[in-house]
């Protein structure tokens, strides 16, 4: 049943050692719970369904590794949140009350993450979110909610300087919801800190918008040298293809915020080559984790991209916290995760040579943040999996994360 499980990673054999940073309980995995039930929350229907299946793949891989390492049986359940916060809340409620999940991770849109996180915290269920809005670890932070991916600010700060170097003035197109609104503000201020100007901003409708005509008109008629696409998922794909149709990608530098290469795979390589800049938490050309990437390729429906990474980290960390705590109890798991620095986990292999730490003050996982750019078309490869983009810059997490005081989070 777990034939796909690979046990060759060098850090997963044998007993778990004590984590230096955690002050709480839990020394040996053998004393942990026998069974864990984890809910994976993602859109499994609708246009974002491929994201959902990527989350499942990442979670499955982590489950295989963990079950091989610990004496624990892990059950994964998928919950379809669509992109609707109300539906998401209904799902987490049912997952907890009816199916009895111990912890949860996932969430694609910030509103969904906020809705699940809030409910989970009110009801004492640990939830590792994958949304990127600053509010999730800022004013809307929640005691039981942790974030496994770099925040908007981290990505904006990582890309700010390269953006200013790339072009003097930028036009910001942002999707008119919380993630887009906050990202737009941060990028604007980071650009100005780095000596570039904002030529204009436009709120575009969405998520779920496919028509960017009038906003691209605005970009085209501005003095901007570059355009920042602060547009999520498939909307970004549509926007990119419309930029290309206008030929603007040749005239302007193009930045995609919270870049996900999967979005570009839906276009052709020519279109993908328009990407000059894109901050991201992970991409499959980040060094390390070759084994993980290989397994994703074999098992998953899509080639490795950030979502399998997020799901793997989230599942891995949730289970390890329970093992350290020696309990599936929400409060114990939360305590075991808070302030924990990741060591001796396959995650360290996927993100080598970096410090990864769950910051206690806002529950942000401090991790390296990358800026990517498109390869030349001739260098884009599809084998063994699509590698169209490469990392142009990597910044350590603590250099770009907001300070604890800045976040506005208090539990």
């Amino acid at each position: 049943m777990i034939a796909g499980c690979s046990s060759d990673s060098d850090d997963s054999g044998g007993q778990q050692t004590t984590d230096g940073d955690t002050t709480d309980v839990g020394t040996a995995g053998s004393s942990g719970p026998d069974e864990l039930h984890i809910g994976v929350f993602a859109p499994y229907t609708g246009p974002f369904a491929p994201w959902g299946s990527a989350l499942t793949t990442g979670s499955e891989l982590a489950k295989q590794d963990l079950e091989a390492e610990f004496d624990v049986s892990i059950t994964l359940s998928e919950y379809d949140t669509e992109t609707n916060p109300s539906a998401a809340q209904e799902r987490i409620q049912r997952a907890v009350t009816s199916d009895g999940i111990d912890m949860a991770h996932g969430g694609i849109s910030s509103a969904v993450c906020g809705s699940i996180g809030s409910w989970a915290s009110d009801n004492g269920v640990p939830f590792i979110t994958q949304g990127a809005s600053d509010t999730l670890t800022g004013e809307s932070c929640q005691p039981y909610m942790f974030r496994a991916y770099p925040s908007n600010t981290m990505m904006a700060r990582a890309v700010g300087q390269p953006m200013a170097e790339e072009a003097d003035s930028w036009y910001l197109l942002y999707t008119d919801y919380v993630w887009g609104q906050t990202a737009q503000e941060i990028i604007g201020s980071v650009l100005e800190e780095n000596g570039a100007t904002v030529a204009g901003t436009d709120a575009v409708p969405g998520p779920g918008n496919q028509d960017f005509t009038q906003y691209i008109n605005n970009v085209e008629n501005s003095d901007a040298d570059g355009v920042a696409m602060i547009i999520p998922g498939l909307d970004a794909r549509a926007a990119a293809s419309q930029l290309q149709n206008r030929g603007l990608h040749e005239e302007l530098s193009v930045m995609f915020h919270q870049f996900e290469d999967q979005v570009m795979w839906g276009l052709n390589q020519e279109a993908a080559s328009m990407v000059d800049l894109g901050p991201t938490g992970w991409i499959n050309t980040v060094e390390g984790g070759e084994d993980f990437k290989q397994r994703v390729t074999e098992q998953g429906e899509t080639d490795p991209f950030s979502r399998q990474y997020m799901a793997y980290v989230s599942t891995d960390q949730a289970v390890r916290a329970a093992m350290r705590a020696g309990s599936a109890n929400g409060e114990d798991v939360r305590a075991a995760l808070e302030g924990h620095e990741i060591t001796d986990s396959p995650v360290n292999d996927i993100v080598p040579n970096s410090t990864l730490k769950w910051r206690a003050c806002d529950h942000q996982l401090i991790q390296p943040t990358h800026v990517v750019q498109a390869r030349d078309e001739s260098e884009m490869t599809n084998d063994p999996y699509k590698q169209w983009f490469e990392v142009s810059k990597t910044v350590a997490g603590d250099q770009v994360a907001r300070s604890c005081e800045e976040t506005g989070c208090s539990f």
């Binding site: 359940s77 998928e78 209904e90 409620q93 009816s98 906020g114 809030s118 008119d176 919380v178």
Partner: protein, 371 residues
Amino acid sequence: MSGDASQTESTQRLRDALADGRLEQWRVPLGLLALVVFLRPVIGHEFLLNYPPFANTILVWMLFAASFNVLLGYTGLLSFGHGMFLGFGAYGAAIGLTRFDLPFTVSAVIGLAVAAVVAYLIGRIIAQRGEIYFAMLTLAFAKAAHFIANQNYGGLTGGSTGIVGVLPSWIETERGVKYVAAGGFQFDWYYLLGAVFVLAALAIWQIARSPFGRSLVAVRENEELARAVGIDDKRYKIWSFTFSGVFAALAGVLYAINNQGSSLSTLTVETSGDIILMTVLGGANYFFGPLAGVFVWLFSEEFLIEFETLVLPLAEYPLVRIELGGLLSYWQFFLGLLFVISVLVAPREGLWGLFRSGIGGLYDRVRGVRE
């Protein structure tokens, strides 16, 4: 022979009583009580949904549907923007609580008041418009409300995230089960919700059966004749719209507790559209019709989703996963089919009407056997 005659007479008297509403006086209150008592065990039964708290959600939507039916069923007005009033209640309660630190009841009352005033004003503007114009104007106002909430002016509404994690101080929640804790008592939130639901639904029923409500029915049946016999149809429509809005807002207040906040989705066209469809699916001609529509809709949605969400533990049986998950992930196709069929079979009666005539037919058959 004489027995026959007396039986006919007593049947006739029974019919009179039914028509005059003497017996009905108790049918609805008892029915509502029974609904609240039996809903949770049914929802929670392990062979059905195995999900008792879902009964809370169903009750909130039932109240919303009942409020909507004041408009559609009793006055014959179709609103495409009724979610707006649900939103006023939910946002009112959540905003008062989080942004102004008001007590929950005060916030709730403010939400209801806002809904009432807005409904009255909109009603004044659009009450006399023809059917399709009325519907489109309600849609437009709802769109505007959605736009404003999404703009998050002054940080009041929280934009697309909505307002999350909001609970009055006297509600506690633990792993999905909410308790009311007040004055040393602690009891399940369902009972309070159920009580409010029954009272509100009774109020709606009372409005519908009151002289006021009968005038609404007259307007629905024949607007021209109503005006000719001296009924001021415009004012009746305005007040019907107002009452309907206030009760929808009350459902919104309950929504705010039940969902621990308010979400932008209350204000969407989808919410407004769903409530129309639930109401008509259940049967707008009956008091219990919309409630039945809500039950069938939400129950089947949740029931069918279950097949999808639990496929992973069944991964050892790949066939099961493919067949159920594959087919049922298109469950809305079958919902659409259900609409088409129910419209073709019984356009005005809805499921509740079919159910009633089914029961009636059964009763007749049983009696026929006896005779």
